[in-house]
């Protein structure tokens, strides 16, 4: 029997993963949630048919979206995480003793429930005493926050679905307002390769660059995402992602990682020419 999960990366490009069996499928109030067991990528979480994570390569995403800001700003204690209902980001953050509070705002309780049941490798630290989960619309949650967080991590789905509101100027402005004077916002910034993704990436970069004094983009190689090539945004009120990197302090923590290193940290901000050009166009 041939049993494949396919995702369209563009109307003309399809990425397929062989499936052993489907573990979970449910239509929540916001989206369709599926979890597959696959021979190559282990368990795969898909929302509305788009791969969110696979057990095999999630470490790349979760390490890059957390350790980059954590290695720059040594005073991060209060963190707001938006989206990320699978728990991977929280898992990485709880490895830091200095973190005092992690507020997780996830719109869809079904995602958390499904990941707790089927993706224990990601959801394993959701019960950490520092983690507070709020099932709310993130725009609404953050409107009420001012000068409250050192770090905001925006781990959203694509800008074309229920997360559209997390790619807007009003959202980034509200994030700015919710951060302390030396706060950092890191977001998943999509892929620059295919045309539709690239223009969405440019739009959100433009909005972030118009909101924060420091706004830089860094990259990682993530096999199961569109084009295997993914970007993150680093926006900050004060710290520069390379100049203010404290490699010594971070390495002294002795955190074992499989993708992130402080050397890679610097390199990740060096972008290919076509991407530099795209970003410059909107800055």
């Amino acid at each position: 029997m041939e049993f494949w999960f396919s995702e369209f990366h563009t109307p003309d490009v399809k990425h397929s993963i062989r499936v052993n069996r489907q573990l979970y499928s449910k239509e929540s109030d916001y989206q369709r949630i599926d979890i597959f067991e696959t021979p190559e990528f282990g368990r795969v979480l898909a929302l509305d048919g788009n791969v969110m994570l696979t057990e095999r390569d999630e470490f790349i995403y979760d390490e890059m979206i957390t350790h980059v800001p954590m290695a720059v700003h040594q005073g991060i204690k209060d963190i707001l995480v938006i989206g990320a209902g699978d728990g991977g980001v929280v898992r990485e953050l709880t490895r830091y003793d200095r973190v005092e509070r992690i507020d997780l705002v996830e719109m869809d309780p079904q995602v958390v429930e499904a990941c707790r049941a089927y993706l224990p490798g990601n959801a394993c630290r959701m019960d950490d005493r520092r983690v507070h989960i709020y099932f709310e619309n993130a725009l609404k949650f953050i409107r009420r926050c001012e000068d409250e967080y050192d770090l905001i991590i925006v781990d959203s789905t694509d800008p074309f679905g229920p997360s559209e509101g997390l790619f807007t100027r009003e959202f980034y402005g509200n994030c700015y307002n919710a951060l302390r004077e030396d706060g950092i916002m890191v977001n998943q910034q999509g892929s620059p390769f295919y045309a539709e993704d690239a223009s969405a990436m440019q739009r959100s970069h433009k909005r972030i660059a118009g909101t924060f004094p420091v706004s830089r983009v860094y990259q990682a190689h993530i096999p199961t995402y569109a084009a295997g090539y993914w970007l993150f945004g680093f926006a900050s009120k004060k710290y520069h992602p390379i100049d203010d990197l404290d490699a010594q302090a971070w390495n002294a923590l002795n955190l074992r990682t499989r993708y992130y290193t402080t050397r890679l940290h610097v390199g990740a901000f060096y972008l290919p020419a076509f991407l530099e050009e795209m970003l410059l166009e909107v800055e």
Binding site: L139, K140, I142, R143, G165, R169, E170, F171, N177
Partner: protein, 469 residues
């Protein structure tokens, strides 16, 4: 049904215009057909259009309903032309839509304005008070009709039942402009609809809150009005090539409203109420609601309307409107001098409302300034010197704006939307009005009406010019 088309439209189900078909879709151009035996004729409906009109009448509680394809403007004009002939008086609030006064230009009827009360804080005109209508009826016993906005653009309703009673007691018709009130026919907890209140005619913008295609509308009549005469009046100005796209959209929307309207508008009202609370929690803004109700000039309030007063953050409504669109990709219905209106309807979802509220919070944080020196008047009492028709057709001269003070205007000046005239043909131009026009232009309102698109000049009547100087 496969019929060989040797009739208009010439695109022949889209074959002759492949670009149009690719753009609109085969389904859409396939429906763009001409009147024919099995499809009835809008000018004289006897079969399927008649059935659609009967179903609509039933759904809206009217004696008869007319499918309209020239917008609610055409419904309003047909209503006025049915009620009035040359020289007849018609009682109406001054904050009517331009289509009403246009109809007076066409038929030569004379307006008797009831000056609506103005909410000083919000700078918006309210409904007509009962005693004002009573006085107008007493002073103009020969008037033929009273026209009521149900509701105004901002969602404010007059005491329609009482006004219907007063009009009928005086032998006058009661006409309702329900361009913003389609949902009143399908909502629990919403203001009374014109047909339920006993009004004789109502113009209902199905394409606004009802979900049909732009330019489609309904004209409803009660039992006191002769349907055949109304049809004749409609045929004076309406196209003989009624669009089946528009008519089918009316029929499908009527079905949707009849089956799901109550539930949907309940949700819309809940969403608007939620948004009001959230906007008011932001601070600086005032999203007004049922607290305005005072039993008379605000007899009821349409809770699906999300109107927000912005002057307290130091920004004119039109400025907030522009920032929302230019910087936040949010298009709202209109912004005027002191307020904005976000139109909520059957297609809205809560996540978009969160965006609107958050954007308003951001605008306040980034742009708030000192609120002094802001004009807040939306309504200026007019002095009517000549009838709209007389003024429109009279000999006139074009003068620079500032030199027109004291003259009588021959044209409209208005911000669009909302399309309520600042000046209508036949009205005296005052310094206050000129200040208002210049202020509105400066703040970026989209001004329409005059021959001169930049509104540097106005046409005034030569006849009254000497007396101004």
């Amino acid at each position: 049904m496969r019929v060989v088309p040797f009739d208009v439209p010439g695109h022949k189900r889209g074959r002759g215009n492949p670009e149009l078909t690719a753009f609109l879709g085969q389904q859409c151009v396939g429906v763009d057909v001409n009147s024919m035996k099995p499809l009835d004729n809008l000018c004289h409906p006897v079969s399927v259009i008649r059935e659609a009109e009967e179903l609509a009448a039933d759904a809206f509680g009217a004696a008869h309903a007319f499918l309209m394809v020239g917008g609610t403007t055409s419904s309003v004009q047909s209503m006025v032309l049915t009620a009035c002939k040359r020289g007849d008086e018609i009682i109406l609030p001054r904050n009517v839509h331009r289509s009403v006064i246009n109809a007076l230009v066409l038929c030569g009827a004379v307006p008797v304005y009831v000056n609506p009360e103005v909410d000083q804080r919000l700078g918006i005109s309210l409904g007509m008070k009962r005693e004002q209508v009573e006085k107008a009826i007493r002073e103009h016993p020969n008037a033929v009709a009273v026209l009521v906005n149900n509701p105004t653009y901002y969602g404010i309703c007059s005491d329609l039942r009482a006004i219907v009673r007063m009009a009928h007691d005086a032998g006058m018709l009661c006409l309702a402009d329900e361009a913003h009130g389609t949902h009143f026919y399908f909502g629990g907890g919403l203001p009374v609809s014109a047909m339920a209140a006993g009004a004789d005619m109502a113009s209902v913008s199905m394409h606004k809150s009802g979900g049909s295609l732009t330019q489609s509308s309904l004209l409803l009549i009660g039992p006191n009005v002769h349907a055949g005469y109304v049809r004749q009046i409609i045929n004076l100005t309406q196209t003989t090539s009624g669009s089946y796209l528009l008519m089918s959209s009316l029929d499908i929307s009527r079905r949707n409203l009849a089956m799901r309207g109550r539930q949907v508008f309940h949700q819309v009202a809940d969403m608007a109420e939620y948004a009001r609370e959230e906007v008011n929690a932001v601070g600086g803004y005032y999203a007004f609601g049922k607290e305005l109700i005072n039993g008379n000039s605000v007899f009821d309030f349409d809770t699906t309307k999300l109107s927000i007063h912005t002057l307290d953050i130091g920004l004119a409504g039109i400025e907030v409107y522009d920032i929302l669109r230019d910087e936040y990709d949010i298009q709202i219905e209109f912004g005027d001098i002191g307020n904005i209106l976000a139109y909520l309807s059957i297609g809205d979802r809560s996540q978009e409302l969160e965006r609107l509220v958050s954007a308003l919070a951001e605008i306040r944080r980034r742009y708030q300034k000192d609120a002094s020196g802001m004009l807040n008047q939306e309504y200026i009492d007019p002095e009517v010197v000549a009838s709209p028709q007389e003024a429109f057709y009279a000999d006139k001269i074009s003068l620079p704006l500032r030199q027109t003070e004291g003259c009588v205007c021959s044209e409209f000046v208005m911000c669009y939307p909302p399309g309520i005239p600042i000046l209508a043909p036949g009205e005296r131009i005052t310094k206050e009005i000129l200040d208002y026009i210049e202020y509105a232009k400066e703040k970026g309102c989209s001004m329409t009406g005059p021959e001169d698109p930049e509104i540097k000049n106005l046409n005034v009547l030569t006849k009254y010019r000497k007396e101004a100087q």
